[in-house]
């Protein structure tokens, strides 16, 4: 539909073996390429304002929105330690994760509630696991009351040096300490972030010992290590580290932990339900297919990807309905628009201008006013029903239901989109010379034969352009179906709008939007294959 302006490739002056040179001694080829490049750059600069505008205001925001359909960093960012600890846990076994996961959870939540992001994670998880949002909300309030001193007290009882900032400095200086003490290192980072948020920048974390959660993490790390490794700390040349671990070695298995699992069970029983943990584990990767699965009425369960229960399926049905209704609307636009466009193209200039104004008038009226006007006309106590009852075509009890259903959507949207069909048709018909028809008739064709064999084929590009416009506009329509569609006449875009503005499930909205976009592209491609996109004329 658009003409591209590729420069014509230059003819080289000579095809002899010696490289042709220009006057300044440059090889002609290079000089030409240079000139062409300059030309292209200039062209690029001319369109650059538009290009930048389109990229900034269209491509980037839409790309960002569509990316949300798979983006899922929130679990990993909010519960980093928990996600790491969960990597050892097998969700298919119907067992709860072990204590180290709960310790990591306590630690992560302590920081998350401090920076107030735990409830945000709760509402994200709630899309896939109903009921979990209140688990997070309750836990945020209760987390500060958790007992977290047991591990610390036991460690310090065995080796008092653990209660000094130097012990932690030694630990931090150990080679590859995040790899050797993964939970502890994570917890230490969380604690520093927590401290900064709680106390500001004035406090130097290196002068303090971390809170109890970090000691609990250390105990878990130690208990997961083979005894030989702890022995290697004791015998290492790093005397500071050796001193820290000498008294611990041999006692590690007996170190108590704070039993966070029991404490979490007391906060909310949701924490001891395996399905909640399965949901967290399932959603812990930073890319997810859960939104796309949900948007085609499926979900991931223990048995793999399955269809949702019958009473929760909705999106496939809406997609089918959206496409079906859009096609019906496009067809009715063709049926109604074709005669009008024909009239426009064949009337005298004066009269056709008048008709054109009538066609354009709806364009200048607010969409909401037009839609509401249809309500007044079509409702059961409305103008049309009143007229029909008055004319005794129907009786009082038999008033027609023409709105708040599919019929309402089709009528109102056909009316609203009609100009988009009439105008391309009109501009195509305008270019068909009347002599074609006269020629056909002079050759003996009847009126209808001349029309179908000569006139109509010439208008097909206009029908094509109008149909594409109307179809693509209607497939994404939202406000009119919402107002007049009742329940049987709503489109997929109404659900997208709901998820954007009401449920805040932007990921699902983005997935539905992506699918809609793909559908339009697929239909466009099919159209191109069948009719040919060159066969489309806007004027």
């Amino acid at each position: 539909m658009s003409a591209s302006t590729t420069p014509v490739s230059p003819n080289t002056v000579s095809r002899s073996d010696s490289t042709p040179l220009t006057q300044d001694g440059q090889p002609l080829k290079r000089s030409l390429a240079k000139a062409l490049r300059r030309e292209k750059l200039r062209a690029l600069m001319l369109i650059s304002p538009l290009l930048i505008f389109i990229i900034v205001s269209f491509v980037l925001p839409i790309g960002d929105m569509l990316f949300r359909s798979v983006e899922n960093n929130i679990v990993r960012d909010t519960l980093p330690g928990t996600v790491r600890a969960l990597s050892d846990w097998d969700p298919t076994v119907d067992e709860l994760p072990d204590e180290s996961v709960y310790a990591a959870l306590a630690d992560d939540l302590m920081l998350a509630q401090e920076v107030k992001i735990h409830t945000r994670l709760g509402s994200r998880l709630n899309y896939d696991q109903p009921g979990i949002s209140s688990v997070f909300r309750k836990s945020g309030r209760a987390i500060k009351r958790l007992d977290n001193e047991a591990a610390m007290a036991a460690l310090v009882a065995l080796e008092p040096a653990w209660n000094t900032p130097q012990a932690w400095a030694t630990l931090r200086d150990m080679k590859a300490w995040p790899a050797q003490f993964p939970a502890t290192a994570q917890s230490y980072r969380n604690w520093m972030a927590w401290l900064k948020s709680e106390e500001g920048d004035d406090v130097d974390p290196t002068q303090l010992v971390p809170h109890g959660f970090t000691y609990a993490a250390l105990v878990h790390d130690l208990q997961k290590m083979p005894a030989a490794k702890i022995e290697s700390f004791v015998t290492s040349t790093n005397t500071d580290a050796a001193a820290l671990f000498t008294n611990l070695a041999g006692n590690i298995a007996d170190l108590p932990n704070d039993d966070f699992k029991a404490q979490f069970a007391k906060i909310d029983k949701g924490w001891v339900q395996a399905d909640n943990w399965q949901a967290i584990k399932r959603l812990s990767p930073s890319i997810t297919d859960s939104y796309f699965l949900a948007s085609i009425d499926t979900e991931r369960t223990a048995e793999g990807i399955t269809q949702k229960p019958e009473n929760e399926r909705i999106y496939l049905r809406l997609f089918v309905r959206t496409i079906f209704l859009s096609m019906v609307i496009t067809c009715s636009c063709i049926l109604l628009g074709y005669p009008v466009a024909y009239l426009l193209a064949n009337l005298s200039v004066r009269a056709s201008n008048m008709v054109l104004i009538l066609v354009l008038l709806p364009f200048w009226t607010s969409l909401l006013v037009r839609t509401s006007a249809w309500k007044v006309l079509l409702q059961q106590q409305g103008v049309i029903n009143d007229l029909l009852v008055w004319a005794r075509v129907i009786d009082e009890a038999g008033r027609l239901v023409m709105i708040n259903n599919m019929t309402g959507t089709i009528i109102a949207m056909t009316h609203i989109l009609l100009p988009f069909m009439i105008l391309p048709l009109y501009s195509v018909m305008k270019t068909i010379a009347p002599s074609y028809m006269r020629a056909a008739k002079s050759m003996g064709a009847s009126d209808s034969l001349a029309f179908w064999r000569v006139y109509f084929p010439n208008t097909v590009p206009g029908i094509g352009a109008g149909s594409i416009l109307v179809f693509i506009l209607s497939i994404g329509y939202y406000i009119t179906p919402e107002l007049v569609g009742g329940t049987s006449g709503v489109f997929i875009s109404n659900r997208i709008a709901y998820h954007i503005s009401s449920s805040l499930n932007w990921g699902l909205a983005a997935a539905l939007g992506s699918i809609l976009l793909l559908l339009v592209l697929a239909l466009y491609w099919t159209y191109d294959r069948i009719v040919g996109i060159d066969n489309v004329k806007l004027g």
């Binding site: 107030k116 992001i117 409830t119 945000r120 709760g122 509402s123 709630n126 899309y127 109903p130 009921g131 979990i132 949002s133 209140s134 909300r137 009473n311 929760e312 399926r313 909705i314 049905r317 809406l318 309905r321 409702q379 059961q380 106590q381 708040n404 919402e482 009742g486 329940t487 049987s488 709503v490 659900r495 954007i500 503005s501 009401s502 449920s503 805040l504 499930n505 932007w506």
Partner: protein, 376 residues
């Protein structure tokens, strides 16, 4: 949440009409912006706020208040503003469920009621004066409204009978005609269960099971063909006035206006009305001057007198217990407002308490089921 008792008891007292006195006692605002944007719902409701809060506040402080009528999309817009790091709203009027959502998402700031709000005239701290209505840490309640039913009083097919209780909605034999219900599960599924023999206190336990949801939808199925589903609160009054629906649910203030202001043949059915709250939040991420201004406004607009003043313009109950005795007459019609309050004892004999926490957990799930049911 039994906030009805305190409010309604107080409302029963004779109402004292008080003119909003310019707040000469209003303390100066230090380091504050001199312009603010307040977001609300528009229509008669925004007008009541304009008269009761914005005008006196502007007069007392000289602050320019810009009104934005975007409350219906407040949650989505606030999230977008927050992501863009450009919050342009200062105070936002939202329903309690949205406030909870905003608080959960970290989009609204926490407000310490006792520190940042005015105590009652007798010195009762704000948190006690609002009592159970403070359903979220970020939310300052403003009004109590209820979702309830209105019906036409001139339906011939009803043979002179009038609906006495909520179950009339489900009784299409005695009360034939179209019903207007909101296009979402909230309230509808509760009413359906109540009329299907579930005891009031068991409703949310039953709804928590798959069978319960099926039961509620099955009950709604019996009237599905007779329902016009609305999505904006203004639709039901219009449908009732046109005779397009004979009975329908909406917010009580909308019905007040269609009955008392427009004098349409419509009456209230107060049975099983569902109380809900509307109030203020302050977005997270404001600059210090703007936050100070927002808090200064909030302290003024949610004091006892101001909340009572609002009820001169719209029939919603003030959220402070101490405001209730001050509820006066309608500013234009001159009728007593107390009997039109959802919290009036005559209206509140049978109310239903909406469970915020439950809906916050189950809204997405139940909505999917409800919409699936609707589209079948």
């Amino acid at each position: 949440m039994k906030f009805t008792t305190g409010l309604s008891g107080a409302l029963a007292l004779s109402a004292v009409a008080l003119v909003a006195t310019a707040a000469e006692e209003l303390p100066a605002c230090e380091n504050c912006a001199d312009e603010m944007t307040i977001v609300s719902w528009g229509g008669a409701y925004s007008n009541s706020q304009l008269q009761a809060y914005h005008k006196p506040y502007s007069e007392a402080t000289g602050v320019d208040i810009v009104n934005d009528e975007s409350s219906a999309e407040a949650v989505a817009k606030l999230r977008a503003m927050n992501e863009a790091n450009n919050v342009t709203w200062d105070v936002v009027d939202v329903v309690a469920a949205d406030a909870m959502r905003l608080c959960d998402e970290g989009l609204a700031m926490e407000i310490d009621a006792d520190e940042q709000l005015e105590p009652a005239p007798d010195g009762t701290p704000a948190s006690e004066d609002f009592g159970e209505l403070m359903v979220s840490d970020c939310f300052v309640p403003q009004i109590v409204y209820s979702t309830t039913f209105g019906y036409r009083t001139d339906v011939e097919a009803w043979g002179g009978k009038t609906p006495e209780d909520i179950c009339a909605v489900f009784d299409t034999a005695t009360f034939p005609g179209k019903r207007a219900l909101e296009k979402r599960p909230i309230n509808n599924v509760e009413w359906a269960l109540l009329c299907d023999g579930v005891a009031k206190e068991d409703v949310y336990d039953v709804l928590g099971t798959d069978e319960g949801v099926t039961q509620a939808l099955a009950k709604l199925d019996t009237i599905k063909d007779d329902v016009i589903w609305w999505s904006a609160g203004a639709e039901t009054p219009q449908l009732l006035a046109d005779g397009e629906a004979v009975i329908g649910s909406t917010y009580n203030g909308r019905l007040f206006s269609v009955i008392e202001e427009q004098k349409q043949p419509v009456a209230m059915l107060w049975d099983a009305q569902v109380f809900d709250l509307d109030g203020w939040i302050i977005p997270e991420g404001l600059s210090e001057e703007r936050r100070n201004r927002a808090l200064h406004y909030l302290r003024f607009a949610t004091d006892t007198q101001r909340l009572a003043d609002q009820s001169q313009y719209i029939s919603y109950g003030p959220a402070r217990a101490s405001s209730a005795p001050l509820v006066g007459k309608h500013a234009e019609l001159g009728i007593d407002m107390a009997p039109h309050m959802p919290t009036d004892p005559a209206n509140a004999s049978n109310t239903f308490l909406y469970n915020y926490e439950w809906w916050a957990d189950n809204r997405d799930d139940l909505d999917a089921k409800f919409q699936s049911w609707l589209s079948q």
